[in-house]
């Protein structure tokens, strides 16, 4: 990891762990003050000048601490608005799903909607808000714009892919946190005269859990690296985002039952921390493209490449970093 990314991660880890129990109202001002919103804005435009790898690392840490704020949406919205030549307004900015739903919508000052190649920046104060909640109990509201947009511009970005990027990063972090909590639990909980972790069946389940936690992060990091190499994000069939979101969904499917099984009843309580991760994970699994959505997109793309085209495409995309011979 580069030195500047390490510093960024240390700062994010310090702040987000402080805010782990905080609600939105307490968390947001400190996040905004720290300047994370401009993570993907170039330095010469007054931003942090980070890349997708940096965004991945920060959002992964947000996931580890179950941060209660629309950080991924805001970081991505800032980037999209800058690219469209629109100065981002202060405060959290949401990204609208196709059906108008926005995470933390009621708390956002504005929302980015993209439809038919057009980006519209919508003001929340003048919109109708239908409140709702995600599986994790986070605000998940429908924002129905009433008046004219604050700004609009041509934009080819794909919000499902961008949203999926953020969710993969957060999921990798949350899965790791759930893993660590489970590891600690099986090391301390005693039944039949020994720690649960001394039973082979439990060890094998923990090994399976760790394998999936490894896979989700490997996929996520490779996705971020591909974006940094310039794999276009407006390409709605972007190979890496599709593959990483799908693989993340598979990891969540496999680990959710293991984490809860090994915890027993304590893990089923609201008070114990596990559900803060597992409820988010199960929500994110269905958000910004479930398995069928991304598997279909990726599968049709691979089918067009043909059997002989798949391997050259996979290697071409990763070899792109090779220096000239």
């Amino acid at each position: 990891m580069s030195e500047s990314r390490q510093l960024l991660c240390d700062m994010a880890d310090g702040l987000f762990s402080d805010l782990a129990e905080a609600g939105f109202d307490k968390a947001w001002p400190r996040i905004e003050e720290a300047g994370f919103a401009s993570l993907l804005i170039p330095e010469e435009q007054g931003g942090f000048g980070g890349g997708w790898g940096d965004a991945y690392a920060v959002l992964r840490i947000a996931g580890r601490h179950a941060l209660s704020a629309p950080l991924g949406d805001t970081i991505i919205a800032h980037r999209l608005l800058m690219e469209a030549g629109i100065i981002p307004p202060a405060g959290p900015i949401g990204l609208a799903k196709a059906n108008g739903q926005v995470g933390y919508g009621r708390h956002c000052g504005s929302v980015v909607c993209i439809e038919g190649g057009e980006l519209r920046l919508v003001e929340v104060a003048t919109s109708e808000i239908v409140e709702g909640y995600s599986l994790a109990g986070e605000p998940f509201d429908r924002i129905c714009p009433a008046g004219a947009p604050l700004a609009n511009a041509h934009c080819a970005a794909n919000l499902s892919a961008l949203g999926a990027f953020a969710l993969v990063a957060q999921s990798a972090g949350a899965l790791e946190a759930a893993f660590e909590l489970t590891l600690e639990h099986v090391n301390t909980r005693v039944q039949f005269g020994k720690a649960l972790g001394r039973f082979q069946a439990v060890q094998q389940a923990m090994a399976e859990f760790s394998v999936e936690a490894a896979a989700i992060d490997a996929a996520g990091q490779a996705m971020a690296a591909a974006l940094d190499k310039g794999c276009a994000l407006d390409d709605s069939t972007g190979f890496e985002v599709a593959a990483a979101k799908l693989r993340a969904n598979m990891a969540i499917e496999r680990c959710f039952p293991i984490a809860h099984r090994l915890h027993g009843a304590i893990g089923f309580t609201m008070e114990y921390a596990l559900n803060r991760y597992t409820r988010r994970l199960m929500d994110w699994r269905g958000d910004c493209g479930n398995d069928a959505y991304w598997a279909g997109i990726l599968g049709r793309r691979v089918a067009k490449l043909g059997g002989c085209g798949l391997w050259p495409e996979i290697t071409r995309r990763s070899d792109a970093a090779a220096p000239a011979e």
Partner: protein
Amino acid sequence: MQIFPIRAFDPPVTVTSLRQQVREIVRQHEHRWTPEERCNPWLKCDAEFSLALGGAGLLGLTWPQQYGGQERSVLERYVVLEELLAHGAPCGCHWIADRQTGPLLLRYGSEHLREKYLPGIARGEVYACIGLSEPNAGSDLASVRSQARRTAGGWVLNGQKIWTSNAHACQTMLALVRTDPGSERHAGLSQLMIDLDLPGISVRPIIDMTGEHHFNEVFFDDALIPLEALVGTEGEGWKQAMAELAYERSGPERYLSTHMLFAELVDVIGADPPEPVAQLIGRLAAEVWTLRQMSMSTAAKLAAGEDPVIEASIVKDLGNAFEQAMPRLIQAAVDADLLAGSALGRMLAHVLVASPSFSLRGGTPEVLRGIIAKGLGLR
């Protein structure tokens, strides 16, 4: 806690020309290969192809030139391996010698043993097999009982190995045997390079459930093995065999051996697949892509001189599970009439029946997960 810290695989400058070279050599030989051979490539043997690879300087790639090697990098070798596997090139003749026997000799073997075996392996002429398992020593390898008694004229070897891949075609075996009579478990074991044409050694076929003769029983009946066949240090066999297993477990063959079945599915199904098959293809692509990231990271760690035992176990466990699920998922999703008599049908039939072996060869899931659990501090 970082379970699997990713190390970037920086493609070597030669990556494009190496891929081209392997693809070209495959193109020259592939007319000989059956669908079955192409979807289990590092088990299936084509002596002519192994010779061609040796002739092209693609074996012993990282070894010193004095032993016939090419002194190229670990990552260049990785690129060659993944190309061979992805194109379903039958490499069974030389695979084990190139992957583990040669590197072990370089690490522990005497000058005599290196000179005797390495150049032939690098030419694609000398094949080696793995003499670890015995009837009572499977997962519990420390139960090895074959015994070599030191005499003035050589080691007198008695006992039996089993499940030995390709022993009937190999000139030599790297075997783990007990050299300290009466020793138990991990102590008193040593490794010997055993030429299989010596008197007192017999190789008997075992037909596997695909109907093929791939593995064997090998019997030692007062076989006299030269003293200089000892590899490394007497009594250090366990430690050395663990190093050998690390070479065996860490490569791309643990997730890429059935890639041709996947490629064939994509070809047969065409550019506009029905939705369930499109989704299956997407799922397989996501898994293969993710496994490749993990496998490349492990290779990069090896290249940097690290010892990624846990990572290699993770990739093998996940890779084997993927390879085993693939034929079942394809069988469940694809129209039966696409399979009848086609290359896809033949590949699928072969892999469905062969796949149980994928998670046995090189260590079972329980054994690998035991290693991972140890890495997690649970054992």
